[in-house]
């Protein structure tokens, strides 16, 4: 129960248009007040439990994303917020875009929408909490994602 009562999130922006980021920040405002669930936007991956990713992954940001994922101590869950983070969105066939976050790191929950409403993001965080508890119970560790050099797109 202890994990579900104090989920600390780290918000990672990988090439987002800032639409989803505004909505993530809106969750922390007095109107939605995510802190009533114990949610804190913690800023450092070393103390985070939930990784909230916005935006589609591109070749510039892929290593940053992997690095931050590796730095979060277990148990951890990844929440993909928005259409871009879930599938690549309208940017899916851009020459520099790899696709959704799940192409790079394992994603546990998706929040669809362009951009998703704050209620939907909060709902996603609450859904992620039960996955977090299951991971703790089953002692499931996130695999370390290997960093590569500057990857070159196959269609370049």
């Amino acid at each position: 129960m202890s994990l579900a009562k104090s989920p600390w999130i780290i918000h990672v922006n990988v090439n987002s248009c800032n639409g989803c980021d505004i909505e993530v920040v809106a969750c922390l405002t007095p109107l939605y007040d995510a802190e009533r669930f114990g949610v804190l936007n913690i800023g450092t991956p070393k103390q985070a439990d939930i990784m909230v990713v916005t935006g589609s992954v591109n070749y510039k940001s892929v290593n940053v994303l992997k690095n931050i994922y590796n730095q979060i101590p277990d148990p951890k869950v990844v929440l993909a917020v928005g259409a871009c983070a879930s599938t690549g969105g309208i940017f899916h066939d851009c020459y520099n875009v790899i696709g959704g976050v799940d192409q790079v790191i394992p994603v546990d929950a998706y929040v669809p929408g362009c951009c998703p409403r704050p209620e939907a993001i909060l709902d996603g965080v609450v859904a992620a909490l039960s996955i977090l508890e299951e991971k703790k119970k089953g002692n499931i560790k996130g695999k370390e994602v290997k960093l590569k050099g500057n990857e070159v797109p196959s269609n370049a």
Binding site: S2, P30, D33, R36, T44, D74, P75
Partner: protein, 287 residues
């Protein structure tokens, strides 16, 4: 036997009080911002969660410094409860602060380093005021031993009102509340990230949080000494000072560390010295 019982009581009771104080802080902060806020026991849930997380460190000695910080905070609190030498308490307390700084420096993260060097500036600015507080106690009772102060029947506050004002600001600096929250902040999404504690995770960070609970009690204990002759009024003054610090935290923005140094070395130091000079010239003794 009685002493051991008291020590155990302090070891168990202080973190509970500190945890509730921290919860009240978050609740009041939320209400002042028009939010519902987390449950009162949220700091307890946080610590419980941190203890169940993986221990991820960047070097072998990092968590050792966190434990040193905890041990010396507990030691200074116990020395305060057992009415030991006040000067010694200040020095033991400084060792605890230094352990946290060295721990932050050892991680090599730029945020931790910036936070640590700012905390050194904080020590530089509040330490003279604490020493003058100790000096005032010496002038009034003839000894640095707190047991002599607690035997007196008249309150210290009547003779040291200016040092009391200075101590409120010291409380603000030491609790790392705004406008002096620049070494480590509760708001991790800002430019400093988490300052000194950026690289701590899981149990190591939980140790620091528990040490903070003890520190809350220790620092309000220093305020309690101003009216130690009547424990009820003493505790009341401690609580009022703590609530005042929370309100100041919410109505001010973070300042440069230079501003704090100027404030403490000009205003706080001068009013403390005026207070000391008055005590010295009048030759007043605590009844």
């Amino acid at each position: 036997m009685n002493n051991i019982l008291l020590a155990v009581l302090v070891l168990i009771g202080a973190p509970i009080i500190g945890c509730l104080a921290s919860g009240v802080d978050r609740k009041i902060t939320a209400r002042l911002q028009g939010r519902v806020g987390p449950p009162l026991l949220q700091p307890y849930y946080d610590v419980k969660k941190l203890l169940s997380k993986d221990n991820m460190v960047v070097n072998a000695s990092q968590n050792f410094y966190a434990v040193v910080y905890l041990v010396f905070i507990i030691l200074s609190l116990l020395m305060l409860v057992f009415e030991q030498d006040f000067l010694m308490i200040i020095f033991v307390y400084t060792v605890a602060s230094v352990a946290l700084i060295v721990g932050g420096m050892s991680t090599g993260s730029p945020y931790a380093r910036v936070g640590s060097s700012r905390e050194i500036m904080a020590i530089l600015s509040y330490e003279p005021v604490l020493i003058l507080y100790a000096l005032a106690i010496y002038l009034l009772t003839g000894t640095f031993k707190l047991s002599a102060l607690l035997d007196k029947s008249s309150p210290l506050l009547m003779y040291t009102p200016l040092i009391f004002i200075a101590m409120i600001v010291v409380l603000n600096i030491k609790l790392k509340k705004s406008p002096f929250d620049y070494s480590t902040s509760h708001h991790g999404h800002q430019e400093l990230v988490k300052g000194m504690t950026t690289e701590y995770s899981g149990p190591g960070f939980a140790t620091i949080e528990i040490a903070h609970f003890y520190e809350y009690v220790f620092l309000t204990g220093l305020i309690f000494l101003f009216w130690a002759s009547n424990p009820i009024i003493g505790v009341l003054i401690g609580i009022i000072a703590y609530l005042l610090v929370i309100v100041i935290d919410n109505i001010t923005a973070r300042v440069y560390w230079q501003w704090m140094l100027k404030l403490s070395w000009s205003v706080l130091l001068i009013i403390s010295i005026v207070n000391i000079a008055f005590l010295y010239v009048s030759g007043a003794q605590l009844a």
